[in-house]
Structure formats: C-alpha cells, structure tokens
Amino acid sequence: MQLAWSLDGLIAALFAVFGLGMIVTRQMLGVLQLFILHSLALAASALVLAVALGSPHLGWVAFITLTTKVIAVPLVLRWAAGSEIYERREVDQVLTIPISVLVAAGLALIAWVVAGPLVNAIHDRPFAAINVPTGLMSLLFGAFTVSVRREGVAQLMGLLIMESGAFFASIVLIHDLSVIVEVAAAIDVPIAVLVIGLLIRNINRVTGMTRVGLLAELRERR
C-alpha cells in the first residue's frame, strides 16, 4: 500500500507538471505530446488505484483512457482538423508565458484551498488527499488554457485536460461506475474531438486561420 501511495503521489506530480506544460508550451506539436503524457498519467493513476484497491472497474478506466485519449484522440484530431494544424510552430495566447505561470501558480493554490473541505469530508477514501486537489488543479489549468489560448486545437486540448482532471479527482471516489457510463464516456470523447476538430478545419477553410481567439465579427451593433 505504501508503494501505491508513493507511486500515486509521483504520478499526481507528473500529471500537474504536464498540465502546466500545456499552458506554457508554445509549439502545437509539443502541446499534443504533453496532452498524451497527461492522459498516460491519468491511466497510470487509475491502474495503480485498480491494483491497490482491488477494483477491476478502475482497470477499465485505465484501458478506456489509453484507447480514447492516448490513441484515438490524436488520430481523430489529426484526421478531422488536418495535419497542417501541427505545422505551425507558435501557439498564440492572450497572456505572456511568465504571467501564465504566475496565474497557474495561483490556480494551483486555489485548487488546494478549495479541495481542503472536500478532502476532510472524504478522509476515509484512500488517495483522496492526492488525487482530488490535483484533479481540481487540472480542471482549472484546462479552463485557463481555453480562456487564454487563441488557437482552436490548443483550446480543445484545454477542454480535454479539464475532463481528465475531473476523472483524476473522481477515480479515488468512484470505483464502480456502471458499464453504461463507461461505454458512453468512451464514445463521448472521440465524438467531441471529431466534431470540434471538424469545426476547426471549417474555420480554417472559411477564415484562413485557426486562431479562433481572433474571431471577432459578432458583437452588438450600436
């Protein structure tokens, strides 16, 4: 059990670092690689918990995460949004990198403070003190990424790390999601990536860019 605690702590630290990396990385391909590593960390945590807690359902969560986020999402995204999306070196964002790091540090603190009462309420759940604040941190990192990145694919990655954060926090709480939920969740993510990827491709076709943060045709006329 002690080994599992150590491993989960290490994975949580990597999960947080990969999430932070997605905020500060300027290269599109780098963002995608960090997303894959981030998803791998989620799968690894689920696997460690599956073994430590003797929960086969968490093994399924690890398997679904691997097949959907690590394998299917990059393939679907490349097919839907077009491989040329990754050729752009720089990803635009509203804030500079140092300010983004500062905001991310603030978000990490908020996550730990907010998770405090929650962790107290579920203190009987092993690993909750590690996974719940880290998951919440990833949720906030993802929301921040969606808010500050101007590039469509980077914003989509932000949405996905939000989802990973929610699952990272909840795998310590729910060890037996019903089969229907697991199947539905496995289908939901690739469909969402497919549709949003196609939307990015169409925006690129019509406007000649994928920097969705610069789209500003719609506003109130005065």
Binding site: L139, M162, A169, S170, L199, I203, V206, L218, R222
Partner: protein
C-alpha cells in the same frame, strides 16, 4: 418499451436521413411526430403512476422529467415542420457569393441532436444525463454553423468552447454527487439523490452544486457565462434557435432545478436559496438592460431567454413556495412561448431579408401574418396577460411579496417590467416602423409548413394562460412537488 422507442426513433431517422437527403425533411417530420405521440403516451402513464421505468431502470421518467420530455418532443416536432419550408425559403433567398448552407447535414444532425435532448429527461443515471447534455452541444455545433459563413462558424465555436468548458466543470460536480449518492447506499439517480441528500456531507453537496451552477449555468446562459447565446441565436436558423432557446438551455436549467430540493433537504447547508436569488437577479437585470440596446431581433429573443432563465432561478431563490408552481410553470411556458417567438422571427427574416432592428420596419404592412406573429410572440414572451408567462410571473411575484421578500421581489418586478418595455419598444419598431426602400421588394408567399408550425406552436401560447387541461395541470403540480423537496 415506449421510453426506449422515444430514443430509438430519432436515431433511426438520422440514419435514414443520411441516406437520402431529398426525403430527409419528411423522415424527420414523421420521426418527430412519432416521438411526440410516444412521449404523450409516456407522460399519460406518468400522470397515472407517478414514475415509469424501462430497460431494467436504465430509463426512467418522473413528473418533472416528463414535463421536460413533453416540451422537447413538442418543440422538436414543430421545429421539424417549420424547417421544411424555412430552409427551402432561405436557400431560395440566397444570392451569388453567399456561403453554401449545410442542407444535407441538417436533418441527420437535427435527429441526433433531438435524441440527445430526449435522453436528458429519460436517462436514470446522473452520469449518463451529463453525457447526454454534453452531446446536445456537440451534435448542434454544425446546426448553429448551418450557414457556413465566417460569422456562423465563429458563433458555433463560441457556443462549443464556452458550453463544453461549462460541461467539464459540471462533470466534476456530477461525479462528486455520484460518489455522495452511492456512498449512502443509493442508486445514482434523481430519486437516489433525494434519499441520500439529507445525510450527505455538506461539503460534497455544496461543491457539486457550485460546480453545476457554473458549469450548467454556462449552458443555460446565466450571466456572466451568457455570451455565446446571442451570437449563436443570431446565426443559427430560426428552427434551431427555437430548439436551442426553447428546450436546450432549459435542459441545463432543469439540472439546477433538480438539485435544488436536495440542497434544501440537507440540514448542514445554510440558505441555499441565496445562490439562486443572487445569480437569478443578476441574470435578469443584465438581460433586461441588454434587451434595451440590442439591434438585432433574433439576439433580442436570445437575451429574453437569458432573462427567463434568471426569472426561474430567482423564483427558486425567493423560496416560500415561489419555486413550486411559479417556477415550474415559468419553465414550461417559456419553452413553448420562446419557440413560437423564433418561428415568428424566422418569418420576419424571410419577409424583411434582415434581422437588424435599425433597418427593418413595416413588417405588419408587408406581411400581416409575420407582423401579427412577431407582435403576439413579443407580447407573450414579455409576460403580458392573458398569456401563460403572465400567470407564472404573477404567481412568482405574488408569492415573493407574500413571503415578505420585498427587496428581492421588488427588484425582480422592476427588471421584468423593464424587459417588457424593452421588448415592446424594439419589436414595435420592426412591426410598425417605417419601411425602408431596401425592404420594398414584393413579398413571396410564406412557406406552408412554416405557417402550419406557427399555428400549432401558437395554440399552447394562446390557450395555457386561460385554460390548462386537467391532466397537464396534474403533471405540472406533480413536477412542482418534486421541486418542493418531496421525495
């Protein structure tokens, strides 16, 4: 079996529509009619039995869910009927250089969009309900982007990015609640939540609620997460606006209404009404002011949707029973009235060729049907008597004053009156204003299916303010009881 068919019919229709785009509108129409009839049968059973289930409890329907199911089925049918003529008229009105609309994708997407919305009240498992809500956004993205112009794609992106971000925030809330319910030995359903809530750790329930308020609030258009709503409604076809505003945003609000009795039932949570009241009042106030300065009548109706979402939340916040019948009836009446408003707005766009208030005018002279429809929709949505929204708003305000909530109820009254004046002033310009030279072209006859959809949608708007069929009244009262904290 009926509950399962309600989901299977639109899915089958989507596949059929994908195969043959020429008959796709009629396939969609027949499918939505079947869904409406099946939903009617399911609702009838709910009024008799209280709750019905299918597929071993995977699908379930209680009165509040049945009320929402009926709204989705009705608006889905009228929108499908309206789409037949509306899309054809819009295509005929295209000029060279315009973008090519996604006509072939419209009907397959419309059907899966409808199926995902129908799954929201039907799914028993809370996590599946969340997936259904997320899929409503995903499947409707390209319906918002139907026109395939830069503006439509921008609106679709804003819609997807903001509401999906909200959905991810709400996901953590759903999973926390899932844990809280199953930890108490209950099934992760609405009924299970009702049973588990009194003994649940307040930190879990409050954190879940706050995540829902922000997450589902973005989808419901609550201020300050409302910015996607006017953009999406200004670009989407009127038939999609009717569904988005009438029932999709209400789906997110439905989630916030369903968690309300659980918050009230937990003795460790102090004043849960305060959250609803503050967010509701801020939303109503902002929307009322924005309606006053808006320059596009489809955006006007979108802001009106934001206002009504706020009124329902504020009604919950007023407590003292205002959340019972008033909020439930407001939820019900808004969906029916707002879909009618967008059908009328769509006809006005066909007649005038614009949706800009400052250049539109003389609608009544150019097309009395479109003019009267827009006027009727405006009066009804603004909450004037004898329409259904007047009844619900009057009930909410009456209960608020009776409960001595003078400041909050007074503010709500001021904002509702302000919105009423703003809606009437703005639509008055479109209906009775001067006709511009640009709008002097002859008007071709309005599509038959649009007129039929408008007529069908007008019936509940005109009737339910003065008469409510007894069984429907029973359903609304039973739904209100669920919101009042009954197990």
């Amino acid at each position: 079996m009926v509950l399962a068919l309600i989901l299977l019919v639109p899915l089958a229709a989507s596949l059929l529509a994908l195969g043959n785009h020429r008959v796709a509108p009629w396939i969609t129409l027949v499918a939505t009619l079947i869904v409406l009839l099946l939903s009617g049968r399911a609702i009838w059973a709910v009024v008799d039995a209280g709750t019905v289930s299918a597929l071993g409890g995977v699908l379930t329907l209680d009165p509040l869910a049945a009320l929402y199911l009926g709204l989705v089925a009705f608006v889905g049918f009228t929108a499908a009927l309206y789409s037949v003529g509306y899309l054809a008229a819009r295509r005929a009105g295209q000029t060279e250089g315009d973008s090519t609309p996604r006509y072939r994708q419209y009907h397959p997407l419309f059907n899966v969009f409808l199926a995902s919305m129908l799954a929201v009240p039907l799914a028993a498992n809370l996590a599946v309900v969340w997936i259904a809500i997320e899929l409503t956004t995903i499947f409707s993205a390209f319906l918002v982007a139907y026109e395939d112009s830069a503006e439509a794609l921008e609106a679709a992106w804003k819609y997807v990015a903001l509401t999906s971000m909200g959905a991810m925030i709400a996901l953590l809330g759903v999973l926390l609640l899932y844990f809280g319910i199953t930890n108490a030995g209950q099934a992760p359903t609405w009924a299970g939540l009702g049973l588990a809530a009194p003994g649940m750790a307040p930190a879990i329930l409050v954190t879940s609620f706050v995540l829902w308020l922000v997450g589902f609030g973005a989808k419901a258009g609550l201020v300050p997460m409302h910015t996607w709503l006017p953009d999406a409604h200004s670009q989407a076809p009127a038939s999609i606006c009717a569904v988005l505003s009438g029932v999709e945003t209400s789906g997110a609000l439905y989630m916030l209404l369903r968690i309300y009795p659980s918050l009230s039932a937990n003795p460790g949570i102090v004043n849960p009404q305060g959250w609803y009241l503050v967010v509701g009042l801020v939303t109503v106030a902002t929307a009322s002011l924005l309606i006053l300065q808006v320059q596009d009548f489809k955006r006007l109706f979108a802001y009106s949707t934001i206002e009504h979402m706020g009124i329902v939340l504020a009604a919950c916040g007023l407590g003292a029973g205002a959340h019972d019948l008033g909020a439930t009836y407001q939820f019900f009446a808004h969906a029916l009235t707002k879909s009618f408003c967008f059908y009328a707005a769509g006809l006005a766009v066909i007649v005038l060729g614009t949706q800009r208030i400052d250049v539109a005018g003389g609608l009544m002279k150019r097309s009395p049907l479109a003019g009267w429809s827009l006027l009727l929709g405006g009066i009804a949505i603004a909450g004037a008597p004898p329409f259904a929204l007047f009844v619900s708003e009057f009930e909410i305000l009456r209960t608020g004053f009776t409960a001595h909530q003078y400041l909050a109820t007074g503010l709500l009254t001021v904002f509702i009156v302000l919105a009423f004046i703003a809606v009437m002033y703005q639509l008055g310009q479109v209906v009775f204003g001067e006709t511009t030279d640009a709008a002097a072209a002859p008007v071709s006859p309005l599509p038959l299916t649009c007129r039929a959809a408008l007529l069908i949608a007008a019936v509940p708007v005109l009737v339910f303010g003065v008469y409510l069929p007894p069984r429907l009244g029973e359903l609304i009262r039973a739904a209100a009881m669920l919101m009042g904290g009954a197990p």
